[in-house]
């Protein structure tokens, strides 16, 4: 097995024209299923209202006109409901919005009307066989970005729109602040801060094990290393930023 194999990840990096790299958080089939069920409920609700109205109106309009109107409404709702919402400002149907999903282009930009139309026309292929969404599910599980066939054709992906707040369980605050002995990269500094912010979740022994990996930085092992890393993280978070403000 090669060491250069790309690591499996649920994020996909996209490089923008400005040379900036953003990461799209691809959404898997489970939450999309939930969104679909919510949309189904909404559509069913609309149908019930439409039927009630048509039952009353049918007395005046006659059976054939009512049936024609129902067919028309059904046609437009099936084809336009997802397309209009996804091409609109939300980039998501109400169901997707409720669970925090959004449809975007593979490049991360908002989808166009054409793409929304294409991906929802192909929904009928994804829904095969017999509206079980078997094809869509298979395609979703087989592609790196969890794309169903409609997504593949339109070049779109479904991403998580809301970033859940990750809990901070910090360890007790350190007594002093120790400046960093060497310059650290942004990633390394972030790791140091994460060490402090998540240390509350770890046992004392595990903290020491992790801190021992950074012995080069702290110059100490065991509890002393933990204390020194905490003090450094404290310096990075409080003192250095304070100095910047002054």
């Amino acid at each position: 097995m090669s060491a250069y194999e790309a690591k499996v990840d649920t994020l996909q990096a996209v490089e923008l024209a400005e040379g900036v790299e953003i990461r799209l958080r691809m959404a898997g089939p489970l939450l999309r299923l939930a969104a679909y069920l919510i949309d189904l409920c909404i559509k069913t609700g609309i149908w019930i209202v439409v039927f009630l109205v048509m039952m009353v109106a049918g007395v005046a309009l006659g059976d054939k006109v009512t049936a024609g109107l129902l067919a028309l409404i059904g046609f437009f709702m099936e084809w336009l409901y997802p397309t209009l919402f996804e091409a609109g400002r939300w980039s998501a149907t109400p169901g997707k919005r409720a669970v925090g999903l959004k449809v975007v282009q593979v490049t991360g930009s908002p989808i166009t009307v054409g793409q929304a139309f294409l991906r929802n026309i192909l929904r009928w292929i994804d829904a095969m066989p017999f509206f079980t969404y078997g094809f869509g599910m298979a395609s979703c599980l087989a592609t790196r970005r969890f794309q169903r066939l409609g997504d593949l054709a339109a070049g779109t992906v479904v991403i998580y729109d809301r970033q859940p707040a990750l809990p901070v369980v910090a360890a007790p605050p350190p007594i002093g602040a120790v400046p960093l002995p060497v310059g650290l990269t942004a990633d390394e500094t972030r790791t140091l801060v994460l060490f402090r912010e998540r240390a509350g979740l770890w046992s004392a022994g595990r903290r020491e094990e992790i801190a021992d990996q950074a012995e080069v930085l702290s110059g100490a092992r065991g509890a002393a290393g933990v204390a020194r890393l905490m003090a450094m993280a404290h310096w990075v978070q409080e003192k250095r930023q304070g100095g910047g403000k002054r």
Partner: protein, 488 residues
């Protein structure tokens, strides 16, 4: 477990994102996982089918009941692969009986209906914990993601049934009509509204589709559970932070000596203070180098045996399979052909477009041969077209009364010299104004003041027919700045 060999991006995720990670892991190893699942469940299914051929419902039930065995194999494969190890098929085959027998009564009877199976099974199989330790560890790991695990537990069977029916629909769709009498009869006999009397053939087909769907669903849902397990451990054990520190240590290790020196200097007061308190913090700083070396060398990174064994194995395979050798030779041949084709193409292109390089070489070589313009404003400006003593010839022409020709000769002679000596690049389409601008841009070597004076006189003569005085012409001849030959 070697954290630095991990083959997935570890970061603390939300519950659903960790499910996605699990699905991504399953996708990478899908065929292996699925074959393993079938390998573990296949013999048992055949046995059940033999015993319960006339009761497809019970057959389905028993296969469903024992599916954690397949999940166990999937878990085995996914966990090994996550930490950069691809188990051999032999090892996987040896694992199958263990998957059946390990804590059979607990896992496959008592706790079979536990929704937390993917996580607790990982504790049992991967961490090897039993009894009290197992219970406490499971409780700890289930503090995160148990909701999603429960959902998955319900959803896995629901979706398996759903997609089982989808498969059955596909079979009905794709079965050629009228070709198979047995099937056609069964389909005609079947009344979908009456669920109690489904023809056995249809029932078995549905059962088979359900089994297939169940195997696929179980592979992915087990992987989803494994994703949750990995995510929980990332949270409570800080795997991503440890990896980050390891990467940092690797980078900083190069300047280790310098840093330790700095650390000793900068924190000596701190260390002595701690030493007074009787702490052991300063002990590591004074460790003997041998000890450090031994510790570094004991790291798993220094194990080289695995690499050696793999090399031996691959050479074995080369010898044993003749086909591989032929394929290798064929590949080499193809490579050679491709390279020679590329070389040939490049050579042909070089030959075909050699004039490009010839022109570039001329431009580079500068001085001697710079025919930037041989004709300017319809006048030849090559040195060969000029008389040897230019100013004398000009004066002679002027004296003969051919003033236009005299000034034309002087002007084009000057341009020729400016091109030749002043290295001014003058194009054939340039006007007098362009020439003047270029000469002025070229600087002192092209004598712009003289050129300007001459140009004014020449323009008046050529376009307005206003002849200069004799003194002006003789002064122009006298001041001609390119006349070393005459001076000599």
């Amino acid at each position: 477990m070697r954290l630095d060999a991990v083959t997935a991006e570890l970061r603390p995720r939300g519950d659903l994102e960790s499910v996605d990670l699990g699905l991504a892991l399953a996708r990478r190893d899908f065929w292996r996982c699925w074959i393993l699942w079938l390998m573990a469940m296949g013999p048992a299914t055949v046995l059940f089918a033999w015993l319960l051929w006339d009761y497809p419902g019970w057959l389905l039930f028993f296969c469903w009941w024992f599916k954690p065995v397949g999940a166990r194999m999937v878990l085995f494969q996914l966990s090994r692969r996550l930490f950069g190890e691809q188990p051999t098929w032999r090892a996987l085959w040896h694992e199958v009986p263990r998957a059946w027998s390990r804590r059979f009564w607990y896992r496959l009877v008592w706790a079979r209906l536990s929704p937390f199976l993917p996580v607790t099974m990982a504790v049992e199989d991967l961490e090897g914990l039993r009894g009290d330790a197992y219970r406490r560890r499971s409780e700890q790991l289930l503090r995160r993601g148990s909701g999603v695990l429960t959902t998955n537990f319900l959803l896995s069977d629901l979706l398996a049934g759903w997609f089982g029916l989808a498969l059955f629909g596909l079979v009905v769709l794709l079965m050629p009509q009228g070709q198979d009498a047995v099937w056609t009869n069964a389909m005609e006999e079947w009344d979908p509204s009456d669920l109690t009397t489904i023809p056995p053939l249809i029932l078995r087909t549905i059962g088979g589709c359900m089994l297939l769907a169940m195997s696929l669903a179980d592979v992915f849902f087990t992987a989803a559970g494994f994703g949750i397990y990995v995510n929980t451990r990332t949270w409570i054990e800080g795997w991503d932070v440890e990896l980050g520190f390891r990467r940092m240590a690797q980078r900083l290790g190069k300047v280790l000596g310098l840093i330790s020196l700095m650390a000793v200097c900068a924190f000596s007061t701190d260390a002595t203070a701690r030493a007074e308190r009787g702490g052991e913090a300063n002990i590591p700083a004074r460790r003997a180098p041998e000890e450090v070396i031994r510790e570094v060398k004991s790291s798993p990174d220094f194990e080289v045996q695995k690499v050696k064994r793999k090399v031996a194995k691959s050479s074995d395979r080369d010898i044993s399979f003749g086909g591989a050798g032929i394929a290798h030779g064929f590949a080499t041949l193809l490579t050679v052909l491709a390279i020679s084709a590329v070389v040939g193409l490049v050579a042909w292109m070089l030959w075909k477009y050699r004039h490009v390089f010839a022109r570039a070489a001329e431009a580079d070589s500068g001085g001697e041969k710079r025919p930037t313009a041989r004709v300017v404003m319809g006048m030849a400006v090559t040195p060969e077209s000029l008389p040897p003593d230019l100013t004398a010839a000009v004066w002679a022409l002027w004296q003969q009364g051919r003033g236009h020709e005299a000034l034309a000769l002087l002007y084009r002679g000057t341009i020729a010299r400016v091109i030749e000596r002043g290295q001014v690049e003058i194009h054939e389409a340039d006007t007098e104004g362009d020439c003047l601008r270029r000469v002025e841009a070229a600087g002192q070597v092209a004598h712009p003041p003289y050129f300007k004076r001459l140009t004014r006189v020449w323009i008046r003569m050529a376009y307005a027919d206003i002849a200069p005085s004799d003194e002006d012409v003789s002064a122009l001849c006298r001041d001609w700045p390119f006349a070393e030959r005459r001076a000599a």
